[in-house]
């Protein structure tokens, strides 16, 4: 598109001319140019320059009956855009008009001259009188005179004021308005004039018809009447197309060239107009029509290249137009584009599609040109004899060429003969590097298709590009692109296309002198699944196939033979270069899991077992598969493992001498195989014994096959169980065989095996039994006994893991990370050895590392039958169940000899339990009840805190129950105050009763109680009573080892202390006798400094009669004690409930009722006689 002249590429812009007053021209030009639509200005400084508007001598041929020399004049469009204005404005300054007669005369003369120039072309005239100041008036008479002289309308005489910016702007606006209007008129009139000629058909030749249509269209474009422009361009195009068969004006070849050149121009205009109008679909249809109508107009075969070049340019230009067009694809508007008969598809909206076709046709041109050149060379044709004229130039008409002949000073233009033109065209065409042009076009297409994610189209373009590079002998670039393309074909399994691409790649490698590449590509080609028979080869020359030749089975065989000959040391000789493999540079081809060369040689390795004992042996099957069309004979196989000591070699028994010569390391095991020939598509299976000393994973890594003298192929070993299908071959409908004889092994076989550790011959025992108790140091004895192995560098690892959580065993995280608070509940305190402890501590090499749940300790070297033991001390802080893992790692021999470490593992679950359940209870003094207001106030809900009365003694009973399964000995129980200092003031705790009897031995479930008296001495709501300390031991023996006693502590909850306002104590005898009266006193103490009103009542009871008031009330003075007395007579014997006495404080509205226990009295039937020794016996039946 860039080759087109500017005037063709851009829409035409109206042109006006300014004459005179040159200092104003820039201002006016700029103003006009910024108009919408813009107007171009042709500025002439003075009137002497106006001759350029002059009309040439009228072409006599144009009007007469002679045929025109051409269709379109090349200069015409440019002339109308740059030299022939639509309007001429004559600028006169006021001074000139107003000046002396001489000046006036000058003005008149200039005007006359201008008029005569302008009239012939119908150019519109405007007169502008420039006023420099407002006062510069021009008299009305003068203006009228001037107008008359110029023969123009009054409105076409403009006064231009340049005084102040505002007025000047107005003048400019006025001026441009007039110009726009006159331009429009001019172009319309011109158009109408030419249109008239078309309608009257006053021309005798189609050339003129086309020319007129073109002119009308251009005039319409000047007026921005796109519809009319399009219509006339299309008319011109139509007439032109008809001329192809009828025109006889020029020699045959040049006639076509001219017609195509004009068609190109018209088509370009039409496409541009359509695309700018947003009519993409119409533009595409138009282009298809254009391409279809000219595709076959090739002309004579020798000049075909001219046609293809032109045709290719049509696509390129259209692609560029589409690329730059602002109109978007109407993708979402109409789903089916184009007409029903000729639907448009997705790609046809993409410039890439046209670039690709353009490249394709340019390639046609290249081929045609080559053909033409060869024709000229071999035939002594007329073109050659005639030679090429020296000076051929484009002539005045579009698409025509002429010969310039210089004779002295005069230059004459002579027409060309077809032969001359042909040789000129060939000479011109030879100057261009078509290949690079083609590559550039394909590259553009490739890039755009890639961005459209159309990978296959892109790869097609890349393929074509690579072919061009190949033909241009740029093998490095060609190889790069072919490699990319081959990747896609491999992936999608297009064997035939891959064959072609590989053929090129093979050729590139050969040309680049790379034997490895050549071998690899050749082998891949030979192994492709192509089976077509050789029928096609008869017309092989005609087929379009790359350097690989036709894709047939026989060709594959040829290729294999060729490459193996090369590998055997023969030189591959071709026309332009030869390839030989040097002895010191053998070819090594590596085949990994994704390599396309897996088809060439596939190595599958399967162990027959899943695990292997160190002493025993297992079988390994090695299977090789090749898809090469001919059998290949392997000289030597090397099988490599991750344990180099297991590597072995297989040699061909048929050629032992050969094998001998190859053999390298004598330490490597060598096996003989009866035959090492791999047949096409048939597994070669070899089975051998395997042994390994070293435990761990034994994995087969590579199988290396040495084939010919200079060739080694190294395949990564694959497990049959996880083997991928062969690329390309997986789509073939063929019988698949198993790599191993046993089909089960083919599904499960692996190329690795687990070699087990040697059996440990050491006993490790953990001797703890029963559960551990919280707080004690639980001892777990560990014993290591050597049975068959001596122990060297032994190491004992201890791990404690929550039995419920699990999973932390042996994990390095567990060792390194700080322990969560949970795991602190159980702690490994220490490891105490027996005798060796001191020794091991002295030895610095030995390891001894203990953390809270992990420990390592080294075990001294032990001989056969020796025993070593140690104790693990573990302490539970909370009841918890833990797993104890102990593992011993050792070397059975002294360190240098055997690198094999043996491990023994043991584990034990240990339950941690609470030894004692400690509970406590507070009680008030017998028959004495202080009034505690918090107790009264708090509703029935049980209070969180126990309340105690200030300075009143309370009883605290602490009981400890053995909840284990073993008897425990309780040594002592005491209450320690939490803080020494506060104790003396706040609370007095005294040990009052109870001590462990029977050496404190408590059988499981038995409870021990101890009574303390507590007297709070500080009025506080949070009185800390103290901590219960229970000192106990598991040991049943009386004499304790020091430190074996365990102290279990339990902090008592805080109590609330308050001052009681009233204290009630009941006083009556401890027992009564039937019928014998006794007295009951209720002593009410007022501890406050206020008068207290007390109401009291005594309920009736069947067992007693009493004297005294049922109800009553009394006032008690501050700090005074009041006694309420009754006399009671018991009526029945036994344990009897006294009448309920209730004392109510009115002030606190609190009723105080003694507890039932405090009001129970035993009544004897008669006066008892007590004997101390018999007491228990007597009381027993009663209490039971």
């Amino acid at each position: 598109m860039e080759d087109y002249p500017e005037e063709l590429r851009t829409p035409p812009v109206s042109l006006v001319s300014l004459v005179g007053c040159p200092d104003l021209h820039p201002t006016i030009s700029a103003a006009l140019h910024s108009e919408q639509p813009p107007i171009n200005t042709l500025a002439l400084p003075d009137f002497s320059k106006i001759s350029i508007f002059a009309r040439k001598q009228r072409d006599p041929l144009d009007a007469g009956g002679h045929p025109p020399e051409g269709i379109l004049k090349k200069e015409w469009l440019l002339k109308h855009r740059t030299r022939i204005p639509a309007v001429v404005a004559a600028l006169f300054s006021c001074d000139q008009v107003n000046g002396d007669p001489a000046q006036w005369l000058q003005v008149c003369t200039d005007l006359e001259n201008l008029k005569s120039m302008v009239r012939g072309r119908n150019i519109k005239l405007v007169i502008v009188i420039v006023q420099s100041t407002v006062t510069d008036g021009v008299s009305e008479d003068l203006i009228v005179a001037l107008r008359k002289r110029a023969e123009i309308d009054s409105k076409h005489l403009v006064m231009f004021e340049q005084d102040n910016p505002l007025e000047m702007k107005q003048s400019l606006n006025r001026l441009s308005g007039i110009f726009a209007e006159l331009c429009n008129t001019y172009y319309r009139e011109e158009g109408r004039r030419v249109k008239g000629r078309i309608e009257k058909k006053t021309f005798g030749f189609p050339e003129l018809n086309i020319r007129y249509c073109f002119k009308v269209a251009v005039y319409a474009e000047f007026r921005r009447d796109w519809a009319e422009a399009l219509r006339y361009y299309e008319d011109a195009y139509g007439v032109l197309r008809e001329m192809v068969g009828t025109s006889t004006r020029l020699p045959h070849i040049q006639r076509l060239v001219e017609i195509k050149a004009v068609a190109e121009q018209l088509h370009f205009k039409i496409s541009t107009l359509l695309l700018h109008g947003g009519k993409v679909v119409e533009a595409l249809s138009w282009f298809h029509k254009h391409a279809a109508s000219y595709e076959r107009v090739v002309g004579v075969p020798e000049m075909a290249f001219v046609h293809w070049e032109w045709f290719s340019r049509q696509f390129l230009v259209f692609a560029e137009l589409l690329d730059t067009s602002p109109a978007s694809i109407p993708g979402n508007v109409s789903p089916q584009f184009g007409t029903l008969e000729n639907p448009l598809t997705e790609w046809e909206f993409q410039p890439a599609y046209y670039y690709q076709l353009s490249a394709k046709y340019l390639r046609n041109k290249k081929l045609s040109l080559a053909r033409s050149l060869s024709l000229i060379e071999c035939s002594d044709s007329a073109y050659k004899v005639e030679g090429c004229p020296d000076s051929v130039t484009p002539s005045n008409f579009v698409g025509q060429y002429a010969r310039l002949v210089e004779e002295g000073d005069t230059v004459t233009v002579l027409p060309l003969s077809d032969a001359e033109y042909t040789s000129y065209a060939i000479r011109e065409a030879q100057r261009f590097q078509d290949s690079y042009e083609i590559i550039a076009l394909f590259r553009r297409s490739w890039e755009s298709f890639n961005s459209l994610k159309a990978t296959r189209m892109a790869s097609y373009c890349a393929n074509r590009m690579a072919r061009e590079y190949f033909e241009a002998a740029d093998f490095i670039n060609a190889k790069e692109f072919f490699d990319g393309v081959a990747g896609l074909f491999r992936q999608e399994g297009w064997a035939t296309l891959l064959w072609e691409t590989l053929g090129y790649l093979r050729e590139c490698s050969r040309k680049l002198g790379s034997p490895k590449g050549f071998v690899e590509y050749s082998l891949e080609m030979a192994a492709l699944p192509i089976f077509s028979n050789s029928e096609g080869e008869t017309d092989g020359d005609k087929r379009e196939c790359g350097p690989a030749g036709p894709a047939t089975l026989s060709r594959r065989e040829n290729i294999q033979e060729e490459v193996f000959n090369l590998l055997k040391g023969q030189t591959l000789v071709a026309a332009d270069c030869s390839l030989k493999i040097l002895e010191d540079q053998p070819v090594l081809v590596e085949v990994d899991l994704v390599s396309p060369l897996r088809m060439v040689l596939l190595a599958s390795v399967a162990f027959h077992d899943q695990s292997l004992k160190p002493t025993s042996s297992t079988s390994i099957t090695l299977s090789l598969l090749s898809q090469l069309p001919c059998p290949i004979t392997i000289d030597q196989l090397e099988i490599q493992f991750n344990q180099p000591t297991c590597n072995f070699e297989v040699v061909n028994a048929q050629e032992p001498s050969m094998a001998e010569s190859i053999r390298g390391d004598p330490a490597v095991r060598v096996e003989m195989a009866p035959s090492l020939t791999v047949l096409p598509d048939k597994w070669l299976r070899l089975t051998y014994e395997m042994k390994s000393e070293q435990s761990g994973k034994l994995e087969c890594l590579f199988v290396k096959a040495k084939i010919a003298s200079f060739f080694m192929i190294c395949c990564r070993a694959e497990s049959p169980a996880s083997m991928e299908d062969l690329p390309l071959w997986k789509f073939e409908d063929r019988v698949e065989s198993f790599p191993t004889k046993d089909p089960a092994l083919a599904y499960s076989g692996q190329r690795f095996i687990q070699v087990e550790e040697p059996e440990p011959q050491v006993d490790l025992s953990l001797n703890a039994s029963g559960s551990a108790l919280v707080g004690e140091n639980f001892i777990v004895p560990v014993t290591v006994t050597s049975k068959g192995h001596a122990i060297h560098s032994g190491e004992l690892k201890i791990n404690l893991v929550d039995a419920r959580g699990g999973g932390l065993l042996m994990s390095p995280r567990g060792e390194l990370e700080p322990f969560s608070s949970d795991s602190h509940h159980v702690e490994l305190l220490g490891i105490s050895g027996t005798l060796e402890e001191d020794e091991s501590q002295l030895n610095l090499d030995n390891i001894r590392k203990i953390q809270q749940s992990f420990g390592v300790v080294s075990v001294p070297d032990l001989g056969l039958g020796d025993t070593w033991s140690c104790n693990l001390e573990i302490k539970w802080h909370r009841p918890k169940s833990v797993m104890l893992y102990v593992s011993l790692g050792y070397f059975p021999n002294s360190a240098e000899a055997a690198p094999q470490r043996v491990n023994v593992h043991k584990s034990l679950q240990i339950e941690g339990k609470t030894p004692f359940v400690i509970s406590h209870r507070f009680m008030s003094q017998f028959r004495r009840e202080p009034l505690l207001l918090t107790k009264v106030k708090s509703s029935s809900d049980s209070d969180k805190k126990t309340s105690l009365a200030l300075n009143e003694m309370s009883i605290l009973i602490v009981s400890a129950r053995n909840c284990t399964e073993v008897p425990l000995r309780l040594i002592s129980m005491s209450i320690e105050s939490n803080s020494e200092e506060n104790n003396s003031h706040s609370c007095l705790v005294e040990h009052s009763h109870g001590s462990p009897s029977d050496n404190g031995l408590l059988v499981p479930g038995e409870e021990f109680k101890q009574v303390f008296s507590v007297t709070p001495q500080t009025d506080t709501s949070n009185l800390s009573v103290g901590t219960v300390c229970v000192n106990w031991t598991r040991d049943a023996r009386a004499n304790l080892a020091p430190g074996s006693a365990v102290l279990t502590r339990l902090k008592l909850p805080d109590v609330n202390v308050e001052k009681p306002p009233l204290v009630v104590s009941l006083e009556y005898p401890p027992h009564a006798v039937l019928g014998v009266p006794f007295s009951l006193h209720a002593r009410v103490q007022n501890l406050t400094s206020m008068l207290q009103e007390i109401k009291y009542s005594l309920g009736d009871s069947q067992s007693f009669v009493f004297s005294g008031p049922h109800n009553g009330s009394v006032f008690i003075l501050p700090r005074v004690e009041h006694i309420i007395s009754y006399m009671l007579v018991p009526l029945s014997s036994g344990s009897q409930q006294l009448p309920r006495i209730t004392i109510t404080s009115v002030r606190y509205s609190a009723a105080l009722q003694p507890s039932i226990v405090a009001e129970t009295l035993f009544v004897y039937p008669s006066e008892p006689t007590f004997s101390i020794g018999l007491r228990r016996k007597e009381l027993d039946p009663i209490s039971s």
């Binding site: 089916q336 639907p343 297009w494 035939t496 296309l497 997986k730 789509f731 409908d733």
Partner: protein
Amino acid sequence: MIVCVAVVGQQNNPLYLQSFTEAGDELKLHHIVHCSLDVIDERVNNPKKSWPTLNETFLGLLYPSENYKVYGYLTNTKVKFILVTIDMEVKDADMRNFFRRFHAAFVDAVSNPFHVPGKKITSRSFASRVSAIVKSFGSGTTA
């Protein structure tokens, strides 16, 4: 005249490709068939953009390539049929008819118990049936 028919598998691999031309442009036809897969991908991935009939197996004209026209058909197992013709005036109805018959032949061929799905179709009877369809179609349109 139909110059080439192809069956392309789910992984865009060729299952069957037969050309019916005398000239040795087999390779070119391979390329055309391969490139047309891009259009099928595009249509299948953006159905609303390009094609109105969602459940239609017939994909219509895929693209005009030089002198050829390529038509496509997608079965519900994502196997694609591609047809290349050099006729410039082709009726959609004819193409639909062709593909229907071709599909029937394909279904019969893959119903063979010895055929492994996803592998190339090597059945000779399928090949002869296809060429019969192609022939009848060619004569049908020219007549």
